[in-house]
Amino acid sequence: MNELSILGRRLPKVNSWAHLTGQAKYADDIMLPRMLYGRLLHSTQAHARIKKLDVSRALAYPGVVAIVTGADMPEKMGIMPSTQDETALAVDKVRYVGEPIAAVAALDEDTAFEALSLITVDYEPLEAILSIEEALAREDVKIHDDSTRGNVFKEVHLSFGDLEAGFAKADHTRDDWFFFEGNTHAPIESHSCVANGEANGNVTLWTCTQVPHYLHRELEKVLGVPRARIRVIATPNGGAFGGKSDPFAHEFAACLLALRTKRPVKFTLDREEVFYAHRGRHPVKMRLRTGVTKDGEITAVHFQSWLDGGAYASYGIATTYYTGALLTVTYRVPAYKFDGVRVYTNKPPCGPKRGHGTTQPRFAFEAQLDKIATDLGLDPLAYRLRILQPPNSRTVNDLRITTMGLGECLERAGRATDFSARHRQLPPGKGIGIAGSAYISGAGLPIYWNEMPHSGATVKIDRGGGVTVYCGTAEIGQGSDNMLASITAETLGVLPEDVHVVSGDTSLAPVDLGSYSSRVTFMAGNATKDAAMKLREQLGTVAAEQLGVPVEQIRSAYRRFYDHEHPDAFMSFTDVAVAAEARFGTLSAAGWYKPPTGIGGTFKGAGVGPSPAYSYQACVAEVTVDRETGVLTVDRIVTAHDCGRALNPANVEGQIEGSAYMGYGEIIGEEQVFRGGLHKKPSLLDYKIPTSLDTPKLEAIIVETIDAEGPYGAKESGEGPLNPVIPAIANAVYDAIGVRFDETPITPDKILDALAKKKDRVGPTGLDGGRDPKAALRRLTASTDARERKRDA
């Protein structure tokens, strides 16, 4: 292989200037002639039957052009083909406050807003189910009719190795309950789309989606329009984090309204609507039982999770499996049992958020390992190093591990913070904690069953030396366009700025499954490399002939093809391209990538967990706790991340730091919580994402393992680095004040309460947890009753 000319260098992203100067065109920036403005009508009820929906007055309101309701799009849809339980707009029944019911298109936004108040909805209220416990127990209230037990959406049980023998061998067994509170993505760009109804009956949708291909499929199904007549263009996403990877009501409504009016229709959600669109982190109750020998070797793990899924499926079946799938890839686990249950509740649907389904169990596992280290008198860093899952191995649940850099991550994060010398040695109120984690570089299987590539790319070279790469990836700020340009440039020997990127357009670019599960660098990177290599071969052949040297000696970089042994003998890239086109015809090649088979098991449920490569992370967090006010300050977060190869180290560090920031927010206070079915804090003032003033000192350490199957050795870096941050902070809090927080977030109130009552642990003690989930609802109802009395009086 050439020495690398582009990859591994801290080059600015190809789209940085557009983003910095405001030229990047987000969906809401799109203005088309004759464009209409859409708004959604949302349910005010957490659970109710729609007895009557009357839009006639709104339709008659001057300036209103069209209105659509659930009845116009009754086809079931959803991101996972096996669990489609949603409709574009509510039909007959609403299942959470904020669920879209109808959509208005008007000449301006004010008119659309005013028209909403003219739509009459008569509800027959049903009892709302708001907690995991109620959802499991209540047979008399069904959010979805097809739940056979209570309001269970999905129940899975997997068992590997001899669990009983494992626990029998253990010298010490820990049995702990955990709770991870739900939270949301809070992208700064709210969801937005513009659909244009074209004269020929086609429709084009510009939308900030992470999954243009899956959306394309769902639009065909719901609209009843062939995919050939629908074009989806993923606009740059102003942050997504998993929150834009489902098909959404406003996207269907915009398309249908555009088709009906033959005009462009724009929807931009307001911030509160983004909180209702949600699809964020599931609240999860967990029970984790781990057996260890006296020196800490794990003998068995039994993990149980109960996920609060909200009102619809979303990715829930995958989320459920993911809570159990990746616990085995970090440390040796010879016997493992996993039981997962996801329930429906009358809250906005949960889905994938950065770390999808693995973040909650990783918190539990790493917190419990810290307890085991304490129980056995072991240094938590040295202990983890001793029990690592080896590289090039298979886990007990049959996952193939290739490169595995967790050991180096732990060592380097530990060294950077002098962890072992400082742990348990800091003054009162100060603490340091460590945790490890892992994540997938893309899912081994697509969301719908098929044997086609997961990612395709086309590269073409024009006669002036310009290169264009076409790939269906969605640029969500993670740098996928830059990755496509960089890999193309590296492979061909040009510079990234020579490469024009066409991404996220279903009409122009080959399919890529989307920007989810940290798959894009690995899969689209490989597809792009595959396409570019085919052209590179043609160019190399021509260059060798013209320079009169064997083709093996030809190298390309910095817009030149040259003789490796005599670099003064070279041709410009453009000259080579012209000669190659004369020789081979139009220079265009397609490439693709599909994960290898045999990377996972064959049992039912084996589809979730396998990945062509796993990334690994370790985090050390340093904290200060104010024992009088309960305020937890995170002083420093050091994260080491095994990304295979850093194609662009600056971008990888950005992902590591961004993940650390997001994980920090999740444990310090972000929570998607409800009061009697009403979201308690649906605004960026009340939902506390940390500001730059709050954010700890963040340090990123890149660990490279050069994965044999990754493009130029790369693995993922977009999600994994979030996972260790949360348990590292919880473990640091224990080091500081001697209190185990087995639940998130760690708030000042919980700290003060624990210190006042001299508790050594805060967290659930069982499934029920002793809290009364109906308290808030009763309060809301009580005040409504009191209001009636006040009115009567």
Binding site: F113, E272, T629, P682, L685, K688, T691, L693, T747, D749
Partner: protein, 347 residues
């Protein structure tokens, strides 16, 4: 996005014109106490940093707004001002002075530190460049059952503040609205003994700031609907030391969930005068009278501070309607009182 309701905007050039306009429009208005906040038809606006978001959420839908940007004084001046100001050695701040201007003014920084600290603790740099001291004094009370969109409040079924026929959501048996006083500058100004100049179409008067607030989340201001706060008047700073501590979830954006201001006048190390004031722990900002009594004559010894902190703790009444929890906020009050007072000791 959320958009403003339609309204008519007046931009009078003088406070007198503004007062006349206000009276004229009030005459046509229904009684706000009967209609709830959405029934208020005329309002004043200065920086607009609080009012406009509230209007977007339809907490207020005035048909008329009187913008004071042109009319209000915005200077920060020495002396008690015209005519024959009673406080020749103090400082007068025009109600139109921005929070950023107050926070960075050298006289405020040197003589009235609590005020500068409270100003810089408000919201974000952008909002401090727009928001005014007069606006902060008249800031609407806050409640997380009330500071929500029209849609949310419809789903909730409204509350006492937006619909007087409904109970208070925070405590259904409460006879009054429990929304929370949330202006950072007010406790600082109370601790500093500030007054406000108030103008209406009949004339003007100076009132002690301590008398400007009422323990009621709906009618939290004692001044009339025709009144315009035009100036804040600070007494001489000689010998005074002061500070403001704010509890909030984040280092920016957030309203206080506890705010404690302390000021003492020291003479030879002995406290001759003292004021301790709080906000965000009730519907009105409050001076802790018993704290002053505990401190005067002391040398800010631990015992005296503890007594003052206990007095603050006793009257703090946080409710479950802001961020944080009742217990956390209640516990933080004496901690902040102690820290604030201890920081005022002379070295």
């Amino acid at each position: 996005m959320l958009r403003l309701p339609r309204f008519q905007l007046h931009t009078p050039a003088t406070v007198e014109d503004a007062a006349l306009l206000l009276r004229e429009h009030h005459a046509a208005e229904q009684d706000g106490a009967k209609t709830g906040t959405p029934g208020i038809t005329v309002m004043l606006v200065a920086g607009g940093t609080d009012l406009y978001p509230n209007m977007k959420r339809r907490q207020f839908t005035p048909s008329t707004l009187i913008a004071l940007g042109r009319a209000l004084p915005r200077g920060i001046q020495n002396g008690g001002l015209r005519p024959a100001g009673p406080l020749p050695l103090g400082v007068t701040i025009g109600a139109g002075a921005t929070l950023a201007a107050v926070a960075s003014d050298t006289r405020v920084l040197s003589g009235y530190r609590a005020l500068a600290e409270s100003a810089i603790a408000i919201s974000t740099p952008q909002l401090r460049n727009m928001g005014t001291i007069g606006g902060n004094l008249c800031l609407d009370t806050r409640c997380n059952w009330y500071d929500q969109s029209l849609f949310w409040r419809m789903a909730e079924g409204m509350c006492m503040k937006t619909d007087p026929s409904v109970v208070c959501r925070v405590a259904p048996s409460s006879p009054r609205c429990l929304a929370v006083a949330s202006a950072d500058m007010v406790p600082a100004l109370l601790a500093l003994g500030a007054s406000a100049r108030v103008v209406n179409s009949e004339g003007e008067r100076v009132i002690a700031l301590a008398d400007m607030y009422r323990d009621d989340g709906i009618s939290h201001l004692t001044i009339g609907r025709d009144d315009i706060v035009t100036e804040v008047i600070l007494p001489p700073a000689d010998g005074w030391r002061s500070t403001y501590l704010k509890l909030r979830d984040r280092g920016s954006f957030d309203f206080p969930i506890v705010g404690v201001a302390a000021a003492v006048r020291l003479d030879g190390g002995i406290v001759r005068e003292a004021r301790l004031a709080m906000t965000a722990v009730g519907s009105r900002p409050m001076l802790v009278a018993a704290a002053a009594a505990a401190l005067i004559g002391s040398r800010l010894e631990d015992d005296a501070i503890a007594a003052a902190a206990a007095a603050a703790h006793k009257i703090a009444r946080p409710m479950d309607n802001t961020s944080g929890t009742i217990a956390q906020r209640k516990k933080t009050v004496p901690v902040f009182a102690t820290r604030a007072l201890a920081s005022l000791r002379e070295n």
